[in-house]
């Protein structure tokens, strides 16, 4: 079954102060499709982690919020693309406790646990794109 996009919203995130408005935008879309509070919190926390990564490692980038549907399920798809340094070893970056920055190394692996679908593409020197989907009832 394919994923259909119902609505699309694009936002540039280049400063720390953009994070909260971005989270609010995600929240708006999530409550519109009647996502439960726990799932909303998970989605927004995941979004927050990924936006933070984008700001820290790539000085910001593009965030796309999409309302998607697959069969009977509605959900929110978020895409974060940056033109940063890229991730040389994705498997390592997805491991708990690994960090090249000074963080706890929970961002990527933690985010993966919070959402239903998670994919990451990265090319060293070209940038990174992370896509997540959280289904309203997922």
């Amino acid at each position: 079954m394919s994923v259909i996009t119902l609505a699309k919203d694009t936002m540039m995130v280049v400063r720390e102060q953009d994070v909260v408005p971005f989270r609010n935008r995600v929240k708006e879309h999530a409550s519109k499709i009647r996502m439960g509070v726990v799932n909303q919190t998970k989605l927004i926390t995941a979004a927050s982690e990924l936006v933070r990564n984008m700001l820290r490692y790539a000085n910001g980038g593009l965030a796309i919020i999409e309302v998607v549907s697959k069969g009977r399920d509605n959900g929110i798809k978020l895409t974060f693309s940056d033109k940063g340094p890229g991730i040389p070893d994705i498997a390592l970056a997805l491991k708990d406790g690994f960090s090249t920055g000074k963080s706890l190394g929970l961002g990527l692996p933690g985010t993966r646990r919070l959402v239903n679908e998670f994919s990451i593409e990265s090319e060293v020197g070209a940038g990174t794109t992370v896509t997540i989907i959280k289904w309203a009832n997922g």
Partner: protein, 142 residues
């Protein structure tokens, strides 16, 4: 510039976070709180996060930092009012906030802080009541 107010209540400092924190604000709060603990000699810090809907790994780290820094200055930290959805998310994220005391609401948090401080003042009393010889023994041992 935005700032999170820190209220002093007897031996305790009280912080109620009413807005979604961005990084700079959280870092400022961390620094302000530690300075305030030092300045006032507060014995406890109570952080109310009942209005916070998102705690991500950064925010979690700040809370943990405040706890450990205050501990070094002889103050206990209690986080109160965490929303259930936030608790679920934090554990799944892999950040169970070890080392920080939590309580369900402000009232219970205050009780917890008071009991922590009572324990430590009783300890102090014991040391003082020891005879001079005991003290000397202890120093020579260490």
């Amino acid at each position: 510039m935005d700032k999170i107010p820190i209220l002093r209540m007897g031996q305790f400092l009280l912080v109620t976070i009413q807005v979604d924190l961005y990084d700079r604000l959280a870092l400022d709060l961390e620094a302000d709180l530690v300075k305030m603990v030092d300045k006032t000699g507060a014995r406890g810090v109570l952080i109310d996060i009942s209005a916070v809907s998102i705690v991500d790994s950064f925010m979690g780290r700040i809370i943990g930092n405040i706890g450990s820094m205050s501990k070094l200055l002889d103050a206990e930290t209690v986080v109160v009012g965490m929303q259930p959805a936030v608790a679920i998310t934090l554990v799944e994220l892999g950040l169970p906030l070890k080392g920080v005391f939590t309580a369900l609401n402000v009232e219970k948090g205050m009780d917890l802080l008071k009991s922590k401080i009572q324990f430590s003042t009783e300890d102090d009393f014991d040391y003082e009541s020891e005879s001079e010889d005991d003290k000397q023994d202890r120093f020579s041992l260490s």
